[in-house]
Amino acid sequence: MHKFNIDFMGHRNIMFGISLVLLVVAIASLGLRGLQFGVEFKGGTVVAIADSGSVTQPQMTDAFKAAGLPNVVVQGSQAGVNAKAGFIIRSSETSAAAASAAADKAIKAVGLSASEKTVTTIGPNWGANVTSSALLALGVSILAILLYVSLRFEYKMSVTAVIALVHDIVITLGLYALIGWEVTPNVVAALLATLGYSLYDTIVVFHRIKENSQGLVKTSYMSMANESINEVLIRSINTTLTSLIPVVVLLLFGGSTLKDYALALTIGLTSGAYSSIGVAAPLFAMWKEREPKFAALAKKYANAS
């Protein structure tokens, strides 16, 4: 059988170290660079132009400024499968009629086809609605998941699973801050979906630990937990890979909306798979080992492992 025998628990301090470094970098990025929120959260306009033709970025900037849009920022967007290089223009304009008319005017001025564009305008007060509803969705789903886990498993598992979840959220958002990608509602949705995944990876490990812990006498809790991780490792790697493959392909080939989802899903799935083994399981085992019954076992087999 394909079976590993890796001493995860023995190296848990290394894994904690890696997580700590990642968390410090993530929190520093969040603190120093901050998150860039999309127009959906703060109001404003985004115009995406699919084919830049021979128009340069300064020309585009001038055209949109001349058309009367306030605070114009023009970015190039990369060519991809079935897609040419284009532009993404952001502005603080919150009137849809004004934004649409200005975009028509600017695109006409540089001689591009007006049909090859998308214009998204979000009103100034709508962003608050979007933000509160996204937070509500996030909060309710985390609570519901926790409730489910607490009912099915013991509370020490729920607590360590939550620590792993927070770990995943902070690292994902930290990366967004670091590379400066916009956080849109799509990113929040993708993050939420990966939380379920991440949590589930953790549950599978816990499930195995729980079963193997029944009638435990011949070894310490820690080494039993290590054995449990090794037992489910192949499954964990395979399910993570098969989930990651389509998402990474989407990241490589998808257009901007799809990329939004794909990046958050990629980071979330990776971090989630890692945190189950590197964070949740060792923390849980350490906590369990403090229970008198398992502390005695740990003492007994201290030299053996």
Binding site: A96, T118, I122, N129, L250, T257
Partner: protein, 464 residues
């Protein structure tokens, strides 16, 4: 019914569902409705704004029903097919106009409250009168900005728009031939009022005001007793048509503000769709190769399982499209791509568990029965957790992310159906026959099967 019969029955049911799905979704580009972000068009969320002194709670359901009806009438006049107006929450409307060409004009039409008033110009503040006169002396169609009556000015209208019974755009004949006009007819009450007013005020200026914007400010030439009134402002043909539409459909009971407006060019959405489908197919292919390399025969069964899953999924989407309750959006495609991984996951759980139970000493036959059962329970746990997140997102989030949540949930349902109607019955049937005969082909190490006698004596029970 014995288990064997039951398994054949389940497989037959699965086959019927798959065939039914293919009938439903072929050809997919026609059978699965595409969202606006893919087919192109204009999508607007209009939110009702409380009038000054009102709170959001004062907006009644009746107001919103009326607003929905009026907006519906207006968009119908645009002549686009498949337009839709839906309520979103307590105070918002989602307006969808697929394939609309002039998005700027469409936006103006639905964004207009449509409160038309005839106002005595002399009752307005002097600054506004000056602005009106300056504009009138310099007017050209679509030219300089129209004067706006400031929000803090209180005035008393002579006539209101709800007294208008019909409005048509046209061109005037006679002295101003060729000028674009809007002709109004009004109800009898208004006709009386208007006849009295125009008789008493010949020579005075009347401003025709739409949502506090002055459209035209003619002087009364003679008493109008018939009620038929011609407004010849500085309209372009489109503007006159829009105004006529707004007047015909009536003014909105609440002020609607366009809050989330997305317009998508027709070819742009299609190329996004192609990218998404391409990514999904490439992802599916790599996953299929991976499964076969890793699990051999069992992997091949999993790949067919993915085919079953995809068929059921597309069939379900086509079914929902047929009832008009589903349209595939880009976030929806992201959800579909994620569920490919989900379906592959459940196959892996089944394969791993099956292998493991054989490795721990069970016969192929009993491993097929208990392994699939345990794996499905584990998978269902995973599915429930993801489903809960998706449901929370679907219920509480606003905007396009709902599409992501919806396809994710539908994918989870198809995954469960695939496991129960395909994976488990098939593995149980094959487990009794060909898998047992040549385990290596199915990716099960021979020594595991050979060693089962020894392991069984040790009482090794598999647990996952």
């Amino acid at each position: 019914m014995d288990p064997k019969q039951r398994n054949y029955l389940l497989l037959a049911l699965c086959a019927i569902l798959v065939i039914g799905s293919w009938v439903m979704f072929m050809p997919p580009q026609l059978r699965i409705r595409q969202g606006l972000d893919i087919q192109g068009g204009l999508s607007v969320i209009l939110q009702a704004k409380p009038s000054p002194g009102q709170s959001a709670q004062d907006i009644t359901s009746g107001d919103m029903d009326k607003a929905e009806l009026i907006i519906n009438n207006r968009v119908n006049k645009l002549g686009a097919s498949e337009t839709s107006v839906q309520r979103q929450g307590g105070d918002a409307l989602l307006v969808q106009l697929p394939g609309i060409k002039d998005q700027t004009a469409a936006l103006k039409l639905i964004d207009t409250t449509g409160k038309l008033e005839f106002v005595d110009v002399s009752s307005l503040p002097s600054a506004t009168i000056a602005a009106i006169n300056a504009w009138q002396s310099n007017k050209s169609p679509g030219g300089s900005a129209r004067p706006v009556i400031p929000a803090d000015v209180v005035y008393k209208p002579v006539l209101r728009g709800d007294m208008i019974t019909n409005a048509t755009a046209g061109q005037s004949s006679g002295a101003n031939a060729g000028q674009v006009t809007v002709t109004l007819t009004m109800n009898s009450q208004a006709t009386d009022l208007w006849a009295k007013y125009t008789t008493a005020n010949v020579g005075k200026q009347v401003a025709i005001v739409l949502d506090r914007v002055v459209q035209s400010a003619p002087a009364i030439q003679e008493p109008i007793v018939s009620g038929n009134t011609e407004i010849s402002g500085s309209f372009t043909v489109d503007e006159a048509n829009n105004l006529a539409t707004v007047l015909q459909t009536g003014s909105l009971p609440v002020t609607l503000e366009a809050q989330d407006v997305r317009s998508v060019g027709p070819t742009l959405g299609q190329s996004s769709l192609i990218q998404g489908v391409y990514a999904a197919l490439v992802g599916l292919l790599i996953v299929a190769i991976y499964l076969i390399v890793f699990y051999r025969g069992m992997g091949a069964l999993s790949v067919i399982g993915l085919g079953v899953f995809a068929s059921l999924f597309l069939g379900l989407l086509a079914l929902l499209s047929a009832f008009g309750v589903f349209a595939l959006s880009l976030p929806g495609i992201a959800g579909m791509v994620l569920t490919i991984g989900l379906a592959a996951d459940s196959s892996i759980l089944i394969n791993e568990r099956f292998r493991e139970e054989i490795g721990m000493g069970k016969t192929v036959r009993s491993a097929a029965a208990s392994g699939t059962k345990h794996a499905i329970i584990t998978s269902a746990d995973a599915d429930i957790v993801t489903f809960v997140s998706a449901l929370a997102l679907f219920v509480f989030a606003i905007g396009p992310v709902k599409g992501f949540a919806l396809t994710l949930m539908l994918g989870i349902v198809c995954d469960l159906v695939m496991m129960l109607l395909y994976s488990r019955p098939l593995i149980m049937i094959l487990g009794e026959t060909i898998i047992q005969k040549s385990p290596a082909v199915w990716g099960i190490p021979k020594q595991a099967v050979a060693a089962r006698g020894v392991a069984a004596k040790k009482g090794g029970a598999a647990n996952a």
